[in-house]
Amino acid sequence: MDKNCISCGSCGMPLEKTEDFALGDTSSVYCKYCTDEQGQLLSFDTILTGTTKFYVESQGVNEEAARKMAKALLLDMPAWRVKS
């Protein structure tokens, strides 16, 4: 595996270990938290909820503020960005 980390194309989380990638496949551009057991990207709302939870549990931030931050990030990630 490459010594450098890459970030998930859906939630932006840097992927540290092989098992952090979708299906444990390091060629995947998404993380295991953003994909289902077939490696398919989960719905935007599911990922939004998961990312919000990640902010709240890790840093104790307000849930509404966390959701706002998660939305600002996700909407600009390659998986969710509206192509202009």
Binding site: G12, E57, S58
Partner: protein
Amino acid sequence: MKKFTRKTQKLETRNKLVAAAIKLFSRNGIVSTSTESIAKAAGVSHGTLFLHFRTRDDLVFAVITRFGEHLCKAFKEHTEKNIKNLKGVLKAHLTVVEEFEDFYAHLVMELALLAPKIKSYFFIVQATVSHRMFIHAEHEMKLGKIRKIKRPLLFNTWISLLHYYLINREIFSPNQSVMSEKSKELLEHFLHLVKP
């Protein structure tokens, strides 16, 4: 011999722009650095910069992503050592904060002025640090080596300490990196605080 394809050339220009941005953001701050000066420092035209980054915010985002990925790499190297302790995680964190010290200090001070997606990504990176810290701390809590502390407070206490010294680095360490001078002391102090 290196094969110079259009793709590698594109990647090299992008890397040059990110490296120039890190240098100038570290020296002059993020908000007050112009895209013109970054392009000039990278040796490309102003227009070329926007072929690689749609907006200025995208370039700032690329720089902070670089920080997040270096941090991830440091944690990966720590994981490979297979030592389950909080001290190792904190040391890895300190190494990368020191590497990016000037940029990171500006980032913390200017965060409120930056685009929401940059702020959001910064807190995702912080979430990964908190996550990593707690995995190791929880193990040591079970062994009675560390007091039981809630995950957000464990992380927030650590990061508050670092940020205070970083924001005020000019008075703590006027002539050198505050992290290189104080990190050992801060680490020992924090580990003492969390002892049972």
